[in-house]
């Protein structure tokens, strides 16, 4: 029984449906936000912000490439991603080769290579450009799953702490003080050693360590909002706590959640690189920028120099993180123009 369930889960249709469902949820949330007046005003301001718009475009581009890799279609030997199909023509070489080179890197023997590689190949002969694009999936999966964990956790606990105060606040503060006082890298490594390696467990670990910042922020903002007269009025007319939280408080702090999520995404992607260096990164065989950078570390000491691997990964990583940061800044400006 469990076997068939496991097999059904692994099937490419369920995996694709999950991804589409994820996107749909985000879309629905954004639409819900669009009904909010504050958000509408912010959108008007955003449209005039050129830098922010470009950044949004770049982020969407990355999302698109990542989606190409995440979505799977059936093939002869199991399912492959759309990106795989697109690049199926590119062969695997034996080992390193320079971008657009005709021979393998090992100069002594001049072995010809089969295909044409725009960004060269890595140690096992895989095309670097393809790896770089496939790594979008890893970054998006980790970023997405982690956000799915820490955003609800942090926002909800923050609102609860800020609104109810007293013992609820104390308990939540105790929990996050304890968690925050452990050096983050140690906690990550410890959790990963227990749960084992993998994109899912990495997301869980990053989620557990990441909700504290958001919680604090939302807690502060909720406390400020709670002082406002409209909350007191709501209490006065007898609205339940649950309604106040969901109808009034949450929507009014959501803009902060959005900005945090966008900026947090960039930090998560950067963190993945560090975790790879420490040896608790993505599993073997997964394409990831962090692994490429880590491999690049030793490759730069080679003679002849192998620079294309680390350069490709850094550029891709930099592009995404920069775009996210600029987008976050633009959002901040859009929601609160006084604080430019």
């Amino acid at each position: 029984m469990t076997e068939t369930i496991a097999r059904l889960y692994q099937h490419w249709i369920t995996q694709d449906l999950q991804v589409i469902a994820g996107f749909a949820i985000v879309f629905w949330l954004l639409r819900a936000g669009a009904r909010n007046e504050r958000w509408q005003r912010a959108w008007v301001r955003m449209k005039r912000d050129r830098a922010g718009f470009i950044a949004l475009g770049v982020v969407l581009l990355y999302l698109f490439v990542g989606a190409l890799e995440i979505l799977q279609i059936p093939g002869k030997q199991g399912s492959r991603s759309i990106l795989d199909v697109f690049f199926a023509g590119i062969p695997k070489e034996k080992s390193y080769s320079a971008p657009l080179a005709a021979t393998l890197l090992n100069s002594a023997r001049h072995e010809p290579i089969i295909g044409r590689h725009w960004l060269g190949t890595d140690v096992l002969g895989k095309d670097v450009l393809v790896q770089m694009l496939k790594a979008c999936r890893t970054a998006l999966v980790i970023g997405g799953l982690t956000s799915a964990i820490y955003v609800p956790l942090g926002a909800l606990l923050g609102v609860l702490a800020g609104y109810f105060r007293r013992w609820v606040d104390d308990v939540i503060q105790y929990i996050y003080s304890t968690l925050a006082s452990i050096p983050e890298i140690l906690l990550l490594v410890a959790i990963l050693m227990v749960l084992g390696k993998g994109l899912g467990t990495m997301s869980i670990a990053l989620g557990i360590t990441g909700w504290v910042g958001l919680c604090r922020l939302i807690r502060g903002e909720t406390m400020r909002q709670s002082e406002r007269p409209y909350i007191a009025a709501a209490r006065a007319i007898g609205q339940t706590h649950w309604k106040i939280v969901t109808r009034h408080l949450l929507p009014n702090v959501m803009h902060l959640v959005l900005i945090s999520a966008v900026l947090g995404f960039s930090n998560i992607v950067l963190a993945e690189a560090i975790l790879s260096y420490l040896g608790v990164g993505a599993p073997v065989g997964t394409a990831s920028w962090g692994i490429m950078i880590d491999a690049g570390r030793t490759e730069l000491g080679r003679d002849p120099l192998v620079w294309w691997n680390i350069t490709a990964a850094t550029t891709a990583l930099f592009g995404l993180v920069l775009a996210l940061n600029i987008l976050g800044d633009a959002l901040r400006r859009a929601f609160d123009p006084k604080r430019t």
Binding site: K94, V123, L124, V284, I291, D294, A295, T298, E299, G301
Partner: protein, 652 residues
């Protein structure tokens, strides 16, 4: 803004700091010249880790041995130049031990120490002067090995052979404390320098043990003095991290995780530079050192360098006396024919091949229901493994691919052996079909065969290797699930038997005897007590092993070894990958005098160095070009002026 005078001062300060910079990371040597006016000779080496201990009866790992060998000599040692075959020569002993066979089957060895060898001067001795090494010191070694507090890993092995060692631990330990008045009955002191060791039966490997630091004499005074307790207001170091030796060097400084420095001891006479056994290509050059007193240089600086790239970089800059060709340095240093690349040859370096008696193999769990019962499946996997291509990608094609259990250089190694389970992809696919999994799918259910493989993954290199190995096996159409482990966890899983295929298993022998390798497949050596991770159990193999372990080298032993090789090939409990060998490019001023540091041994004392040549070449290799700085300075100034000017324009 900032007054120009202050800016100028800052610039001058920066320039001053910068000019004092150079990229030499080594500290100044202890002296500049020897007493006789010739230059002070220093050698610089790199070690990939910190030592676990300096206690010879406790340290059992390669890194600690690297630190101990300069300070403690051994009873016997390996001839520094003879490697095919290796030869043991006396070191602390005056001559090779005499073997005595007794009618009841027991064996004993009669040994005599060199008179007049002293421990180094140290405050633990009365008057601070080191005393002479005597036979009772060797007895003290055996007592220490029996002492449970010392936690000596050698006890388990030696107690099986040396008479009375096991009883000594039982009788002498009360409440965990060992009484050093308990004597080892198998040890007989004949006079100040002579002693006899009594064994249960033939144990020719004892001579190899005497070449290990496990049996290096230590002074009882030192062990008792350095107890780690407070005396007279100061805490004394523990003997685990303090040396009072008798070797050619004395430890002067040890900064953990940074470096360790040794200085030569005056009056060392235990060994001199040999006069025979010179390899022909170096014989002319080596003649100048024949018979000279050791060591040939004065100071040794070993830096702890944990990562491989800095070691390579420092070697290239001339701050280390050798470049170890690891994976990234390989293509740069070694050509595909096993020679030095032209770039490094032009520098005047020399390539040395270091062969250690070790081998890597992939283990199959013979007790696993899928793999352990299906010999054709194992053979299929073995035939799918292309060690040659692996070595080509990761080692430029020069690490020796192994096709049998024994590594090169050992008695019993067959240079003409052809492995029946060698690489043959077609044959592998055929065997897989015969095993019940045509094209990787189960013949009955059509399911793809999924096997799990344990990989030690603790760095980029290992990650890439794991990926490559999996790719090799997946050519058969099966699917491999990689279990990434740290080395400790890998060992745990191997010991628990919680695996199907275990990669990264290997063995570095303590001494060049085939018994040390076939031991790995002996059925009485199952984990957790032993290292037979494959859990291979074959009574015929066991019988052959027991006979062969006690024999001396000869045609009979060879026949048994060949039998055992055949059994291993038939049952295929493991895939043999390659031997542990690596290349070192020696700097032109540090040509190697010895052949290779085979296993244990104080080979460093035979090293030489030419400091004058080193200074010259270092300066040449580390020139500092100034143009980038000038360019940067101009750029900064220009940018600053532009920014100020532009701002004035806009904010007037």
């Amino acid at each position: 803004m900032m007054p120009p005078s202050r800016a100028l001062a800052l610039l001058l300060l920066a320039a001053l700091i910068f000019s004092g910079c150079d990229n030499d990371p080594n500290p100044e040597p202890y002296h500049k010249t020897r007493p006789d006016g010739s230059p002070w000779r220093v050698r610089y080496g790199g070690i990939p880790g910190d030592p676990k201990s300096f206690d010879p009866q406790f340290a059992y790992d390669e890194v600690s041995r690297e630190f101990i060998q300069h300070v403690y000599d051994t009873l016997l040692e390996y001839h520094p130049m003879k490697t095919e075959p290796v030869e043991l020569i006396p070191c602390l002993l005056a001559e090779m031990p005499k073997r005595e066979n007794h009618p009841d089957g027991t064996v004993s060895y009669l040994c005599r120490l060199q008179p007049g060898i002293h421990y180094h001067d140290d405050p633990c001795f009365p008057g601070g002067k080191g005393r002479e090494i005597v036979a009772s010191d060797v007895h003290y070694i055996l007592q220490r090995i029996a002492d449970p507090k010392v936690e000596s890993p050698f006890f388990a092995i030696l107690e099986q052979h040396i008479v009375g060692l096991h009883e000594t631990r039982q009788a002498g330990t009360k409440n965990g404390k060992f009484d050093y008045n308990t004597l080892v009955s198998g040890f007989e002191t004949l006079d100040n320098y002579s002693f006899r060791i009594q064994l249960n039966g033939p144990f020719p490997q004892l001579l190899y043990w005497m070449a290990m630091h496990a049996m290096s004499p230590v002074a009882r005074e030192a062990v008792e003095y350095y107890d780690g307790q407070m005396h007279d207001g100061k805490v004394r170091p523990t003997f685990r991290f303090y040396t009072v030796g008798h070797g050619p060097f004395r430890m002067r400084e040890y900064i953990p995780r940074q470096r360790i420095r040794y200085e030569r001891v005056e009056g060392y006479r235990t060994s001199v530079f040999p006069s025979d056994g010179f390899p022909p290509e170096k014989a002319e050059w080596l003649k100048q050192f024949a018979g000279k007193p050791l060591p040939l240089f004065d100071e040794l600086q070993l830096s702890v360098i944990l990562e491989t790239i800095p070691a390579f970089v420092l070697g290239r800059q001339g701050y280390l006396d050798g470049i170890t060709a690891n994976k990234d340095a390989f293509a740069a240093v070694v050509t595909s024919t096993g020679e030095l690349t032209p770039k490094y040859k032009a520098r005047g370096m020399e390539l040395e091949k270091v062969v250690t008696p070790g081998t890597f193999y992939i283990s199959f769990n013979m007790q696993d229901p899928v793999i352990g019962k299906n010999v054709k499946l194992r053979k299929a996997l073995a035939s799918a493994y292309d060690a040659r291509e692996y070595v080509e990608i990761f080692y430029s094609g020069v690490a020796p691919v192994s096709n049998q259990l024994l590594p090169r250089g050992l008695f019993g190694y067959d240079a003409h052996y052809i492995d029946p389970n060698g690489y043959d992809l077609e044959k592998a696919k055929r065997l897989l079909a015969e095993a019940g999994y045509p094209d990787g799918r189960d013949a009955r259910t059509g399911e793809q065969l999924v096997l799990s493989i344990e990989e030690p993954v603790s760095g980029t290199e290992e990650r890439q290797r794991a990926e490559y190995e999996v790719r090799l096996f997946e050519k058969l159409g099966i699917k491999l699930k990689i279990n990434e482990n740290t080395f400790a966890r890998l060992l745990e899983r191997l010991e628990q038997g919680n695996f199907q295929i275990g990669s990264g298993t290997g063995w570095l022998a303590d001494f060049p005897d085939p018994e040390n390798f076939f031991f790995l497949f002996y059925s009485k050596n199952f984990p957790r007590e032993g290292a037979n991770y494959c859990r291979y159990s074959n009574p015929d193999f066991d019988r052959a092993y027991e006979k062969m372990a006690q024999m001396d080298d000869g045609p009979e032993r060879l026949a048994l070894i060949q039998q055992m090789n055949k059994m291993l090939a038939d049952d295929c409990p493991a895939i043999f990958q390659f031997d542990k060998a690596f290349y070192v490019a020696a700097q032109p001023w540090g040509r190697w005098t010895h052949n290779s540091p085979v296993i244990e041994g104080g080979f460093y004392k035979y090293h030489q160095v030419d400091p004058v040549l080193r200074e010259k070449l270092r300066a040449q290799w580390n020139r500092k070009p100034l143009w980038p700085l000038i360019a940067l300075g101009l750029l900064l100034v220009a940018g600053f002026i532009y920014a100020v000017r532009w701002n004035q324009r806009n904010h007037v």
